[in-house]
Symmetry: C2
Subunit: 453 residues, 2 copies
Amino acid sequence: MSADGNVLDEVTPELIRRIEAALAEGRTDEVKALLAVLSAPGQAWVLEQVAEPERDALVGLLRRNLDPETLTELDDEVLDDVLDQLDSKDIAAAAHELEADDAANLLDELPEDERREVLAALPADERADIESALAYPEDSAGRLMQRSLVQISDGWNVGQVIDHCREATDLPDDVYDIFVIDPAGRLRGSVPLGRMLRSKRPVPVLDIVDPDIPSVPATATRDEVAHLFRDQNLVSCPVVDEGGRLLGVIMVDDVVDVIDAQAESELMRMGGVGASDMHATTVRTVRLRGLWLGINLLTAVIASLVIGQFEGAIEKIVALAVLMPIVASMGGNAGTQTVTVAVRALAMGELTATNALRFILKEFAVGGLNGIIFAVLMGGAVVIWYQDWRLGAVIGAAMICNLLAAALAGTLIPIGLEKFGVDPAVSSTVFLTTVTDVIGFLAFLGLATLFLL
Amino acid sequence: MSADGNVLDEVTPELIRRIEAALAEGRTDEVKALLAVLSAPGQAWVLEQVAEPERDALVGLLRRNLDPETLTELDDEVLDDVLDQLDSKDIAAAAHELEADDAANLLDELPEDERREVLAALPADERADIESALAYPEDSAGRLMQRSLVQISDGWNVGQVIDHCREATDLPDDVYDIFVIDPAGRLRGSVPLGRMLRSKRPVPVLDIVDPDIPSVPATATRDEVAHLFRDQNLVSCPVVDEGGRLLGVIMVDDVVDVIDAQAESELMRMGGVGASDMHATTVRTVRLRGLWLGINLLTAVIASLVIGQFEGAIEKIVALAVLMPIVASMGGNAGTQTVTVAVRALAMGELTATNALRFILKEFAVGGLNGIIFAVLMGGAVVIWYQDWRLGAVIGAAMICNLLAAALAGTLIPIGLEKFGVDPAVSSTVFLTTVTDVIGFLAFLGLATLFLL
C-alpha cells in the first residue's frame, strides 16, 4: 500500500501519541502542524481515536482550520461532539465549502435554532440548495445526490458539448457521464465521457446517447439505491422527479458509505445493539444496551417460569437441572444459524415468495438431521455419564424436538416479521431464544416427567 | 425505481412462476424467450431462485445462450452447480467473452483437469492473460484488477492523448482516468478524463497530471483494497508491481462486491455459519452447521459440569435451578453486545492500541452499571416472588458479577484473538458464552451455597 494511500498508514498509533503529548504539554503550534498535513479522512481518524477531552481541545485549537471534509467523515456520535465545540459561524464556514448534500447532512445534526442561524449566515443560493436537500427525508435518494453535473441539450452535437465543457470553468474533475435532457428538462439518456472524447465533432449527441439508463426517483430510499448500484454495477446514477426531470446524480462513493452503514447496522441489530456505540458515552451506552437487556430479561423469566412448573421433577432427579441448559443452548445456537442466513437473505432480497417454502423445508430437514446426530452424541454421553439409558433417551428426544423447533422458529419468525413490516434483524433473535428456551426446557422436563418419574 | 433499473422489478415471482410452468410443460422456446430478454443479473437471479432440478434444466436449455456475465453474478454454490452442467467447450466460450479477471474467478471453481481443458480451448493471448491473473492469490488485488486501461507516455501532450483515444477502437466506454507512465512503465500519476477534455491540445500531460494518486501493489489483499477505496472515496485505483510498474486498474464496482462479501461473511461468522449456505444442499448445510454446533455442545457440557458441582444445593433449594438460567442468559446477551461492537471495530480498524484500554474500561463501567440496574430489578422480583430477601440478594450479586465478567470477556477475547491472528468474528462468541455460562452458574450457585445453606 503506498504511503499516501491509507488512513491507517497515515495515522499511526505513534502519530496519535505525539499529538496527545504535544497537546498535554501545550505545544499548540506543533499540534496544528501535525494535523495540518493530514488528509480529511486522516483528521477524522485522529478525532475518533482520541478521548473526548482531547478531541474537544483539538477542535478548539483547529476551529476554522479544520478541513470541512473532515466533518463528513466522522462517526455520528463524534460529529455531534465536534459540532458542540463549534459556533454557528464556524459551521457556516464549513458548510460553505461543502457540497449541498454533505452540508445538509451536517445541518441535520444541529438543533432547529442553530440550524437556522447557520443557514442565515450562508449566501442565498447556497442556502436554497441546502434547504432543497433538507426537504428530502434523510434516507432518500434526493438527499444522497449531488447537484453539480454536466447536462446538455438533446439538440447539440459533440463539438458543442466539448466547447461547453471547455468554457465552463467550474466543472468538477470527477465527471464520468454527460446527461442529455430535452427542452422540458426530462432525462433522455447519458453519454460516457470516453465515448464523447472519441466521437467526431459534427456527430449529433442523440446518435451516441445511451437512452436506456437506469435512474432513481428522488423519493427512493437509500436501500433501493444501494440495491440498484449493486445489481447493475453502476458508477453513477441520475436522480429524477415525478415528471422524469433531471435533478442530480448519485456517485458510487456515496453508495459505498450507504452499503457500509447498512452492513454495520445489520450486524449491530443482530447483536442486540441499536447502532455501534463505540464512540458513545458510558451513560448513553448503558441506556441503549439496557433496553435490549430488559427485553431479554423477560425472555429469560418466561423460560424460568416453564422450569418452575417442573420443580417436583427436578427435586426427585437433580440431574435434570444439570442437563437442561444443554438442550436449550443447542436449540438457541442452531436457531441463530438459521436466523442469520434468513435475515441476510431477506435483506438482500434473496428470500422471496418463490423460494420461501423450499427454504423452510430445507432448514427443517437440516434441523432434523443435526437433531438426530446430536441426540445420538448427547444421549450416548448421558447413558455413560449417568448409567441411565432412559435419561439418555429423554435428552436425545428433547434435542431432536428442540432443533426442529429451532428450524421452524428460525425461518418463520424472520419471514413473518418481514411480512408484518417489523425489522427481522432486530427482533428475530429475541423471539427465537424464547421459543428455543421454552421448547427446550418443556420437551426435556416434560418427557422426563412422563417417562422417568 | 425505473422499470429497467432493478433486478427485483425485472424478475418478479410472477415471472419465475411462468418460467417454471413453461419448463414443466416442455415449452422450451417460451422458456428461452423469457430468459433471453433478461439482463445478466436478472438471469443470475432466476437461476438462484429456482430449485436445483429446474436450474439444471434451464442451464441445459440455454448452454451457449447463457449470458457469460451471468456466471460472474452467481452465488458460489449456485455457480458450482451451473458449471457442472456445462462442458469445457461451453465454459471456454464464456471465458472468451469475459474480462481476464472474471474468467480467472470462473476457472478457479473448476477441478484442475477441467481448468486445463478450458485454457487449452482459448486463444493464446487470452490464455496468457487468464493464467497471469490465476498466478495471484484468489483474494489479492492482482486478481481483482482488470488489464484494459488507457496508459500514455509522460512525454505526450493533450492533443496526442486525444488522437490516441480516437484511433484506439477497442477502448472501453468506462474509462474515467488516463494513467501516465514513464519509459520504464512506472506509474507517474493520472489525469481525470474530464480535465483532459477541458485542456488545450498543446498542453503537456505532465502539466495536468495528479502525481500523488494512491496505488496498490498486486499482492495487497482484497480487505486492504476495500479499506483504501473506502477511506479515499476512490472510483478506480491503479495496481503496480514491486517496481512501481503499472499492471492494471481496480474499478469501484468490483470493490462494492468485495465490501458486500466482507459484510456478509462477518455477519455469518458471528451467527455461527461459515458462509451463507442459503444455496447449499441439505447434506452440505448439515455438515457446515454441525461442526459449529459440536463446538457449542462442548461449551454447554462445560457449563453443566459446573452445575453438577452444586447438585446438593439444588436438591435443597430447587428454586436455584429455576433461576440460574436467567443469570447465565443475561451475561451471554450483554457479552454478545460488547463482542459485536468490538468485532466490527476491529474489522474496520477502529479499535487500536491507542484506544483499546479506554474501550475496555468503558465496557467494564457499562457492564457494572447495567449489572446494578438488573440486580435491583431481578433481585426485587425474586424477593417478591419467593418472599426470600437472601435469595434476592444472591441473584443480584451474581448478576453484577456476570455482567462484569461479560464486559471483560467481551472485550479481551476479541482483542486477544485478533492479536494472536485468530479470526475474532468466528471464535469470540463461543469463548464468550463459555465464560458467561460458567461465571453465571458459578457465581449464583456458589453464593447460594455460601449464604443460603
